[in-house]
Symmetry: D4
Subunit: 177 residues, 8 copies
Amino acid sequence: MDKIIDVAVIMGSDSDLPTMAECLKIFDKFGISYSVNVGSAHRTPEHVKKCVQKSIATGAKVFIAVAGMSAALPGVVASETTFPVIGVPMDGKYLASMDALFSVSQMPPFMPVACVSIGKAGAINSAILAIQILAINDAKLADKFKVYRQDMAKSIVAKDEKLNKTGYVKYIEEMKK
Amino acid sequence: MDKIIDVAVIMGSDSDLPTMAECLKIFDKFGISYSVNVGSAHRTPEHVKKCVQKSIATGAKVFIAVAGMSAALPGVVASETTFPVIGVPMDGKYLASMDALFSVSQMPPFMPVACVSIGKAGAINSAILAIQILAINDAKLADKFKVYRQDMAKSIVAKDEKLNKTGYVKYIEEMKK
Amino acid sequence: MDKIIDVAVIMGSDSDLPTMAECLKIFDKFGISYSVNVGSAHRTPEHVKKCVQKSIATGAKVFIAVAGMSAALPGVVASETTFPVIGVPMDGKYLASMDALFSVSQMPPFMPVACVSIGKAGAINSAILAIQILAINDAKLADKFKVYRQDMAKSIVAKDEKLNKTGYVKYIEEMKK
Amino acid sequence: MDKIIDVAVIMGSDSDLPTMAECLKIFDKFGISYSVNVGSAHRTPEHVKKCVQKSIATGAKVFIAVAGMSAALPGVVASETTFPVIGVPMDGKYLASMDALFSVSQMPPFMPVACVSIGKAGAINSAILAIQILAINDAKLADKFKVYRQDMAKSIVAKDEKLNKTGYVKYIEEMKK
Amino acid sequence: MDKIIDVAVIMGSDSDLPTMAECLKIFDKFGISYSVNVGSAHRTPEHVKKCVQKSIATGAKVFIAVAGMSAALPGVVASETTFPVIGVPMDGKYLASMDALFSVSQMPPFMPVACVSIGKAGAINSAILAIQILAINDAKLADKFKVYRQDMAKSIVAKDEKLNKTGYVKYIEEMKK
Amino acid sequence: MDKIIDVAVIMGSDSDLPTMAECLKIFDKFGISYSVNVGSAHRTPEHVKKCVQKSIATGAKVFIAVAGMSAALPGVVASETTFPVIGVPMDGKYLASMDALFSVSQMPPFMPVACVSIGKAGAINSAILAIQILAINDAKLADKFKVYRQDMAKSIVAKDEKLNKTGYVKYIEEMKK
Amino acid sequence: MDKIIDVAVIMGSDSDLPTMAECLKIFDKFGISYSVNVGSAHRTPEHVKKCVQKSIATGAKVFIAVAGMSAALPGVVASETTFPVIGVPMDGKYLASMDALFSVSQMPPFMPVACVSIGKAGAINSAILAIQILAINDAKLADKFKVYRQDMAKSIVAKDEKLNKTGYVKYIEEMKK
Amino acid sequence: MDKIIDVAVIMGSDSDLPTMAECLKIFDKFGISYSVNVGSAHRTPEHVKKCVQKSIATGAKVFIAVAGMSAALPGVVASETTFPVIGVPMDGKYLASMDALFSVSQMPPFMPVACVSIGKAGAINSAILAIQILAINDAKLADKFKVYRQDMAKSIVAKDEKLNKTGYVKYIEEMKK
């Protein structure tokens, strides 16, 4: 029997996996259960459809779809489920990655994808956004997330304090180490 | 006493209201309760903060933030709440509206905004995405949304049937009426 | 029984029809049989699939898929058939129509779409390209197309001659009439 | 005597050859006969014309033209033949390769080029698209191509299965090897 | 017998003529003799070639080539003559006219086009640049051009003086008349 | 004798004046004395130089330079003075006004221009920024500006209150009046 | 007690520090006192607010805010002070850094940020612009800056002289050393 | 006494020299006499003016001006001479070099710059274009240039022949050596 999951992650190519590991690590840290699939909107539409249906059957409430270039996967996943779909535009070699960003964000009316940042920042943000959505009805997760965010803020303030103690010249030297 | 709401909509300017009416009409149709506020991230940061806090206090679980140009409002709202924030890039007169789209979507890691399409399509999609998020834990809403989506699909298929009955010349003539 | 067709035209929205009429008129002129369908990649994926399957069953050898914004339809059609797919990026209000152009052209490896120009020029060019493909194995059509192209060239040369007879001032005056 | 060919490939520069090798390898695999020429639309227009004429004389039914920057070659080839022309925008160092993409795709009405993706993906897709066009009237090739596409789909599904067996951490480790 | 000309102007379409009239008027004013032709690089390559050859035969020393979208004409003209070619990117409806600008300016090494501004400003600037080139070996033209430029400068300074006399409110009022 | 001024405004063309009136009105309101000149960096470089020198002689401490297209004026003014120069990129018809924005903002190291928004928003912001700079050493102006900003904030909050009283349907109706 | 400062520098991330060191070195050279802080508009809004307030309390008259991607920090700092704010768009990996440039420059009316160049050039220019602003009321600093600028000009002229003495071949050789 | 020159080359920075060496080598080959200067439009406007005046005094008939980012130098040179000015947009790290291209090409009406390609291709093309302009009145140079261009064409045809002899696999192998 398939394990119960909260989030279904579908990537257009396994080459997206090293970047999306940033997303999965955050889920691991928060104890979010998830599925990960490789499936191309264009090359394996039936497989993508099956992944979506299986994910729904095993409890997925939020989808994360990842693709580069003419990034159709997030939209295709959105067309196969009524659950919210987060789209991560993967960075490519050309067009300054505008192709993926425009394809993911410019969805037609009545069929949204929640587009996040390009590349690694987007991988991270897709995890955070999924957690924020799940936390609406999970008070424990919400509390955990608030602490997480406070810790992140604290670590930035700590950097500020360190910078003001050491001075910028020394700080940069230590960054290089 | 303030009424209980599900979604908080904050616009950077009241000039966004005619476009965002498309969003509010959908909420009205679905019986989603919402607040609407005008508040500028840059010109009234304290007011924006108050709107966010009040919205949280009155039950908001999803935020929709709307802005054009250097569209900071979605990010600023995201920094004031741990609930998910949907960002609508408003269309502007210059830069082919890339300024708003890039500002809303390219959020730094760990601080996502769910960016939807530019302008009116985004206004509509922000409502649909909010409903999809709320429907995760609201079976009635989920059912209603599924019917809504099926009806939308049916209306497209109906257009296809009409086109195939009347032929394209007559169809276009009737479109012009 | 469905009529035998050579080309299947699928549009993401009936609002594309007035522009695509330019394509259909050329087919009418050349006696190319075609089907026309409205079907959204995102909103009616099953209907699109059916249109593609029915088109194949009734003889379609070339597909033309038309969409704007995050223009997924050409790619989705390409994933459902092994026949060549011509994609027409429809013009939109934002991003200088780069969103549609990038979505249609930047297909992943092994899954091409034959992208033509944006908007009306693309509507015309999709018809011409389909004819060129069909003409490979249709000597009569090939001959007809060669004459058509020569006539087009002649009409440009005729304009040149007229301009050189009347002079530019008078030529512009007559253009305005 | 020149060998009979199906596809004529013309590159604006021999520096395009390593990228276009991806195209030629696919033709080799499918047993498609082809010619390859280097000829610059701007620097050797007569030579390009001769290449096109000779290709037609030796049986070419589909043309592939490859160029970067102000990529005029596909359009120039299109002006010299009534057979379909596939254009591959080569990647360049500047303008995020928009110059080549816009030059290849934005052809004037009545003179289409079938634009595919930028760079290596486009090299691959030009081969696939040419095969799809040739397969319209070649049942054996059509069957071969369907198997090829199914194999491609299977290899993606196989990656998905491997990922789900090994887990993402190990999968990434093995990718690095 | 054809009249002796100094500049050959070739436009991709007669729709460019109203814009290019700005160029021709300047030639008329300076007494520069010129030819004007309509000829499409893609649709009438032979005609373009003939226009270039005839222009050379009748004395043309500078060429002006005008085109929009995938603006191949300036490059094609450059490939048919060793005289300098000025390219005017015509404005189009899509891509913010980047397609024409990139096509005209991004010529491959060893085959320059002298690209000027987009649209009407470019039409004017093509005339001025041609005059500057011709004036290198025409002292009278050079003197005439210097006076012309001084007059232009004076007219700007005169506007400045008027503005400072009337004040900005009144100046704007008078602009509206 | 020339009046003492605080700010020197130089426009590349008198066609910029209706837009820049938004700037001048704010100076009028705050009692900031200013000069206004029309002078083209390219067509009247000597005149621009004189305007800058005269402005310095009459007390100007801040410069505002306004230009569109290849907007060289702000940089040219910056090269003629050591006082801070605010650059306003004027909107143009092509390139989505990126030409003016990039020209004004992308100054080489050691020669800054303070670039503000494109068009009317930039005209307004140039005035506000000049006031902020002058207010550093003018306590009265600083106080006046603080009140001005508070009033602006209040007017936004007032709109928010009105919207919440009347409801969005009625608010939009009243906007149309 | 906190030291009196003239300029407050706030960076969105400590990763901006190596680039911004170019700014701080110039301040060190000119004897401008400054504070440096790390604070994220999105992740530590309260900390940013505190930094701004403390900077004002310790005498800051000019702010420099530095950020990449959806670069909200300059605008957020501008909303917290009436002193002039210089914004430095940091370079990022995607969108050719247009995201940061558009976010910093395209501020809404009445809330300017003085946008300088992207990346290192912007870091340098932010220092120069701050000095130009401070020098308005500091005759010594103004004199020092004039000498500095003259020295910079001299060093360029010296390069010109060297180039003309050594010739370009040798000059390039020496550049490589 | 200064030597008589035909072409004046002015670069905004000595860092442009390695790229512009491609231009100077061509002049050396053709026996074109030239001056080379380093001078910044923004940082040494007086020096640029002197360079232009001295170049005119020593016989320059064509100017080549080279700059990156907000590339004002070509326009500034154009404003100081009535001779034709060729502008080379230097490549930069950001904005995909659109900043330099737009600044050089988008000159206001009546003040043209002959914009060539970005970077090294532009360096080469600026030399070729200058030669084409000078050759109008120099029959020997014109003949030399025609031979040069034919040789270039021959070398491309030779590559084509080699490719067709060796086959693409071997040709690529030899390219790598």
